[in-house]
């Protein structure tokens, strides 16, 4: 028997076959037991029929990143069964649907293959053929519950929560799970199944198991977002779908909404609407993914140059082009930072956890308004669509920051204003909003050359002064963006830098490195432009590994260009096959290179 609460289960099924709710019940039951658990869905760009995998990882030490191999594979999909067999680590278990015949020679002797007659077990559970097909997935839940010793109470609570008032559905599902349990009791006792879930009551109190997109939506709803436009695209759609659901619950008074959501006709329109709404004073965001970011390039330049508060929430997927729409990558960093022609540079936020997805809802809108510019948030599919544990979100207490907006009274007091004048020396002018009601409040906004009073100008010095001010504003941005998280120890020679969804794997990789004798510092970057901390960190380490989920080392590229003096300390650790980052990949690359110094 291994130590409890340390196992990875991968369930291989076909897309649209109904395994989603089974997997959900399983992973949420584990969560209810107080266990650190994560759930990752590896699905195809398809609606029905193609292979899909769901992986749950329970880890007593709290590591929930992807692992390269599973301890237990549930193989329900005949099409991929041979490949799925390879997913299990030596010594692991395969619960193989006995409908599946593994061809001679394709089986493995180093794992325990347990054929299970799911179809037969489900037989008595329901009369409906259609239902039985779905319930087959509950059978493996029952079998696993029994093998892992998950008490019924947690399963029941979860089912109750999942299906709510639909009591007949609850009963049928319970019945199927029970049938799985009974089968396991009667037939699998001899397995001496080594994995076990052991409840840690109360450990997940005050926490939620949530996907980053839902967290983002909550962050936007409670962060004062009043306008959302979008064009559906995986993996960002659920940000807006969740926004609608949550806002409909919390932000409708007397049947009236205090927010607007528009499904645009494309991404060019989606960003156009955000620019319009942001200009006219709404707190506006659009959610998209890589192809949408590319289509938003022209308007991004307008938002930069005409200084319009606006937010793009990019849930990254694998590019280039349409790429792998249902796989994860951190591939849009360069595109986002330099988005658009001409001299442009944008503020980029890099949430690294579900908690930060929530927080950055308000942060992004605040920064967009304070800096009067476009802010691009880079989440990704792994962070956005997979399940992560996060503290329950508190209603934000930070006051909403709307930046330098002049009211009628303030304008009166000042006796006028010049939209693009750098009154405060921070590169940020004062703006007014349509309908503010002062006869001198109007100004004319344009993406062409303009002077301090917002008048049209092609004059060389007027142009130059204006874009120099924008450079100053970018320096201001570096003082306002969220600083990195730094975990640093005096004497550590090696530092790691990562961002976004890499955090889970990083924590684990650092523990692995430490257990191999390499104590590392860690900087989790949370925004561009760089705050001063980044240089400090580079200064204080001899070697710094920049971990990214892309091919071209995009952050390292930006670091070299902005902090070139540290170039020879920096090494890229890259992972870019569309799967979430795993600790081993980081460990292997870092320790591999460290050997050359050891």
């Amino acid at each position: 028997m291994l130590k409890p609460n340390d196992f990875v289960i991968t369930v291989a099924t076909a897309n649209g076959s109904g395994s989603q709710s089974s997997n959900n019940i399983l992973v949420r039951s584990l969560f209810r037991m107080g266990l650190p658990v994560g759930g990752k869905n590896l699905f195809p760009s398809n609606i029905q029929g193609l292979p899909t995998w769901f992986t749950m990882r329970v880890n007593g030490d709290g590591y929930t990143a992807r692992k390269k191999f599973a301890d237990i594979v549930v193989a329900m999909n005949p099409v991929t069964a041979v490949e799925d067999l390879k997913l299990v680590r030596p010594g692991g278990f395969v619960l193989l649907s006995s409908d599946i015949k593994i061809p001679e020679g394709a089986s493995r002797t180093d794992v325990i293959v347990v054929p299970i007659p799911f179809r037969e077990i489900v037989g008595p559970v329901s009369d409906s053929v259609k239902l039985r097909k779905l319930l087959m997935n509950m059978i493996y839940v029952g079998v696993l519950a029994e093998l892992l010793k998950i008490p019924d109470e947690f399963m029941d609570e979860t089912i109750q929560h999942q299906f709510g008032s639909k009591s007949s559905v609850i009963e049928t599902n319970k019945k199927a799970i029970a049938a799985g349990r009974v089968y396991a009791q009667q037939n699998l006792a001899a397995l001496n199944f080594p994995f076990r879930a052991e409840a840690r009551l109360g450990q997940n109190k005050g926490k939620v198991l949530i996907d980053g997109n839902t967290a983002s939506a909550m962050g936007l709803v409670f962060g004062g977002c009043t306008f959302v436009s979008w064009y559906p695209i995986t993996p960002s759609s659920s940000v807006v779908e969740a926004f609608i659901e949550i806002a409909d619950e919390f932000r409708v008074k007397d049947g009236k909404r205090d927010y607007a959501v528009v499904q645009a006709e494309d991404e060019l329109a989606a960003i156009g609407m955000v620019v319009g709404a942001g200009w006219a004073g709404a707190r506006a965001v659009t959610a998209t993914s890589g192809p949408g970011v590319s289509l938003m390039a022209e308007a991004a330049g307008l938002a930069y140059y005409a200084e319009i508060p606006s937010v793009i929430w990019d849930v990254q997927r694998v590019g280039p082009s349409t790429g792998l729409p249902t796989r994860t990558m951190q591939g849009d960093l360069l595109a986002a930072y330099y988005l658009s022609h001409g001299d442009t540079k944008h503020v980029v936020l890099l949430p690294g956890s579900a908690q930060e997805c929530f927080e950055f809802g308000q942060t992004a809108l605040d920064l967009a308004e304070e800096l009067q510019t476009l802010v691009i948030v880079l989440s990704d599919l792994d962070l956005g669509m997979n399940l992560h544990i996060a503290p329950k979100f508190a209603y934000p207490t930070k006051p909403i920051k709307r930046g330098k907006v002049l009211s009628k009274e303030q304008l009166e007091e000042r006796g006028g204003f010049q939209r693009y004048k750098d009154v405060d020396g921070d590169g940020i002018g004062y703006r007014t909003i349509t309908g503010m009601g002062h006869a001198n409040g109007a100004y004319f906004t344009r993406g062409t050359g303009h002077d301090e009073a917002a008048g049209y100008s092609e004059k060389p010095d007027v142009y130059k002064n204006n874009v120099d001010r924008l450079s100053r504003k970018f320096l201001t941005a570096a003082l306002k963006v969220p600083p990195p998280f730094i975990d640093q120890k005096q004497g550590n020679k090696v530092g790691l830098i990562s961002y976004g969804s890499s955090s889970d794997a990083m924590t684990e990789a650092r523990a692995m490195l430490k257990s191999h004798g390499l104590d590392t510092s860690h900087l989790v970057l949370r925004a561009l432009p760089f705050t001063a901390h980044v240089e400090e960190f580079l200064k204080s380490h001899q070697r710094v590994y920049v971990v990214e989920q892309n091919r071209d080392g995009q952050l390292a590229t930006i670091m070299r260009s902005e902090l070139p003096q540290y170039w020879n300390k920096c090494f890229s650790v890259l992972h870019y096959d569309g799967l979430p980052l795993d600790a081993e990949s980081v460990f292997d690359q870092v320790s591999g290179r460290e050997k050359t110094w050891m």
Binding site: T226, K253, V275, G276, G281, G435, F444, Y456
Partner: protein, 331 residues
């Protein structure tokens, strides 16, 4: 929609009911070519907003990119304005409206801006019924880039430096009707008598009010062979109706007894009048007839002008969405 057409105040000479002079509705000096049709339209916009006593502080001006799109700088300089991107006025307008649906939106675009790069977004804005007075200053060419054909140029029209347009031309009015727009009209930059009443009416329309204004480009499309020269337009302009607009408290002077003139009373006490000019029967409240009128006139090679379709009770996007009364921008 809560359209901000202000309640009347006693009339003072050369002032409107708000007590504003016409000069309160002008903008900066035009930089367009002398004689450009667009400048005339600017004048008509100023007149209509003055006549309707619209408070400039309640107006937001929008445009795309082009000679036409420069014109919002030339009227209503007390109103906020946004000269956006080429072809993107429609989505920007959508956001602007929803951020503050108390504002009256007036947007000026060109035929390149609307019918080429902006075609898709234009159509979708109409579907959503974003309340905006959308004026397309339609000269059949790209003025600002020096005279290439636009998609509204008649097939067979000649370019200034040779070249004949081989392609089917887009009729923005029939497209607007097809896309569900509930205020569709065409006029001519030189025709104040027709265009000013139309703008007055559009100011009071609930949803998207589309006015396609034939506006000759004196520099690149006023030569012989151009289907949009002043000459050609005058020769082919056929008016569907004679239009009129009577402001609230203004006296209804004409004698409309004969019955050929329809007088429509509007909620704010103003009146819109239509006198039939064409032999074919037309009913502006019927979308199908509007479409048929346009098909007929197209077949005859006419520029049919007038009000084609109008739904008095158009429901703007913000209402459809059940937004709070307070503008989102002020929350």
């Amino acid at each position: 929609m809560d359209v901000k057409v202000n309640t009347p105040t006693p009339a003072v000479e050369n002032k409107n009911r708000l007590g504003l002079a016409k000069a309160d509705y002008i903008g900066s000096k035009s930089t367009l070519c002398v004689g450009c049709g667009h400048d005339s339209i600017t004048g008509h916009i100023i007149t209509a907003f003055y006549q309707s006593s619209v408070d400039p502080l309640n107006v937001t001006k929008l445009s795309g990119i082009g000679c036409s799109s420069k014109t919002p700088a030339y009227f209503l300089n007390k109103s906020h304005g946004f000269n956006t991107l080429h072809g993107r006025m429609a989505p920007v307008a959508t956001g602007v409206h929803l951020a503050n649906r108390k504002q009256i939106l007036i947007g000026v675009s060109g035929d390149g801006d609307t019918a080429s790069i902006g075609l898709g977004s234009f159509a979708h804005m109409l579907r959503r019924n974003v309340p905006i007075i959308y004026i397309c200053e339609n000269n059949g060419v790209y003025g600002l880039t020096k005279g290439q054909f636009s998609a509204t140029a008649e097939s067979g029209s000649k370019a200034k430096h040779g070249g004949v347009n081989p392609f089917h031309n887009i009729d923005l009015c029939s497209m607007a009707i097809d896309m569900g727009c509930e205020f569709v009209a065409r006029s001519f930059s030189g025709d104040a008598r027709q265009l000013v009443p139309l703008i007055n009416l559009a100011i009071r329309h609930g949803g998207s009010a589309f006015i396609d204004v034939i506006s000759p480009c004196i520099t690149f499309a006023n030569h012989e062979g151009s289907s949009r020269s002043f000459e050609a337009v005058k020769n082919h302009n056929v008016q569907l109706q004679e239009l009129g607009f009577i402001q609230p408290q203004e006296e209804i002077k004409a004698d409309y007894a004969e019955g050929s003139t329809q007088v429509v009373k509007l909620p704010d006490g103003s009146h819109f009048t239509l006198r039939k000019l064409l032999s074919s029967e037309h009913d502006v409240t019927r979308r199908d007839l509007a479409m048929i009128r346009l098909q007929e006139s197209k077949a005859k090679g006419e520029f049919l002008t007038g009000l084609f379709y109008w739904n008095k009770d158009s429901k703007p996007l913000g209402d459809q969405m059940n937004l709070t009364d307070k503008p989102l921008s002020q929350l």
